[in-house]
Symmetry: C2
Subunit: 263 residues, 2 copies
């Protein structure tokens, strides 16, 4: 990528704005939702217990399939995270919530799931993710930044076996991601390269995204990555993933399909 | 369940309130988030295109693993839904968005995923669910009600094969749920029986929920179900699920593990 092209791409990234129809431009709630960014630099101060309680309340009250609430949450401060994992919360955050898909509660009470590991997994991943998003938005509403981690620092399903062992997870409980919370250090974090609405929507039957649009997105990702991490590249990140994915796949296969919870 | 016990349980359900610390009680955004309910009765009038555009914008700008945006959205009004599925949108809603996990775009551009169907599936289910929750909250913010459907009316992953065939989905695109939108007919829909925060959280290592608490929850679910649907029961609903889960499991197994997208 030449320098001119690189600069042009960075400009293109920075020019991205949420689309807000004029009549909704004044709504603080609309702006809060659309201006949320993943935060990776936090002020070195703790958030309040009341704020954390509200964030967890948003998780508790998220919707779920047949109200089954197939989730659990590991709640940590710097101390308990260190005790559990022997290191700091990623990105220097003071609070972390480890989000689990959790089918064990339903299994204690009913025999709804005969032998259906993939259905159970899907139900629990969907619901736990809904809760994670609700937490993130509650945080945002309180002026608290957050980022969801599924690979960085062995905090999610890329390290399924490690987390299962470390947290002593029974079968039916799946570590999916960690959301870390704190007051954001920076304002106006740029939006990462997003597809346009036409690229990701269809009506009637499915329509595949134009390959040129996908390549365009990839080149923006590469430029953005190069601008933010001088000594790495998006391609290097992708290589890192490829190397770890085979292991992660094997672990998920064991955890989801191998050991069946006793019914 | 005796009548007295039944009434006591209904009271217990109706007495549930979101926990909001006093200092945050005035925040409209906090209340919007915590008072969201799934809506299944809609006014018979359409919502505006600008509102739908904002709801989709919330989906587009949701966070995702390495910003891969592994989702797609089928966007329908009553007309296009009928053309595609030969019936009405469930619950008489006028708009529906079918949410798909979608790994095809990433696969067009990179070879990040070697042979890792469960990782791909997990990534795409997590991200698509985050987008679905963001849509739902944007709707709520605009005074629009919604409900996420994964079984009712063949609208989600319980009918994976049907939707794959109907939408002509390629491998790597997974129909997960349909979110239907409309103006709510009722105010103050009661909160379904929720676990307490102590039941669903732990610190340090994993802690299983007390079985008595789970049984308590189940008995509230049964009472709530009986109160809302006179001719059915929660146990009947569970039986319905059991019968359909084996089929759904087989379909998911085919779709996720059977046919591998060409890399």
């Amino acid at each position: 990528m030449g320098l001119i092209s690189f600069i042009r791409k960075l400009r293109q990234i920075h020019a991205q704005r949420p689309f807000i129809p004029a009549e909704f431009g004044e709504s603080r709630q609309v702006r809060t939702l659309l201006n949320r960014r993943s935060v990776r630099r936090f002020l070195d101060c703790d958030i309040k217990d009341e704020e954390m309680a509200l964030i967890l309340e948003a998780a508790r009250l998220a919707p779920s399939t047949v109200n089954m609430q197939t989730w659990s949450f590991g709640v940590y401060d710097t101390e308990s995270w260190r005790q559990t994992f022997g290191r700091s919360i990623p990105y220097g955050a003071h609070r972390a919530v480890l989000v689990l898909g959790d089918i064990t509660r339903v299994k204690q009470a009913t025999d709804i799931f005969p032998d259906s590991p993939l259905v159970e997994y899907t139900v629990s991943v969907i619901n736990a993710s809904l809760a994670a998003m609700n937490m993130t938005i509650m945080a945002e509403t309180l002026g608290i930044g957050s980022v969801m981690l599924s690979d960085t620092g062995k905090t999610g399903f890329f390290s399924a076996a490690y987390l299962k062992e470390r947290l002593k997870l029974p079968s039916g409980a799946y570590a999916l991601m960690t959301v870390v919370f704190g007051y954001p250090k920076d304002r106006d974090v740029p939006m990462p390269p997003k597809f346009e609405i036409e690229d990701i929507t269809f009506s009637g039957i499915y329509r595949q995204t134009d390959t040129c649009r996908v390549r365009e997105w990839l080149s923006l990702m590469e430029a953005g990555y190069r601008a933010s991490t001088f000594f790495s590249s998006f391609q290097a990140k992708l290589r890192y993933y490829r190397e770890n994915l085979i292991r992660a796949e094997r672990e998920l296969r064991d955890i989801i399909l191998g050991e069946r919870p006793k019914t």
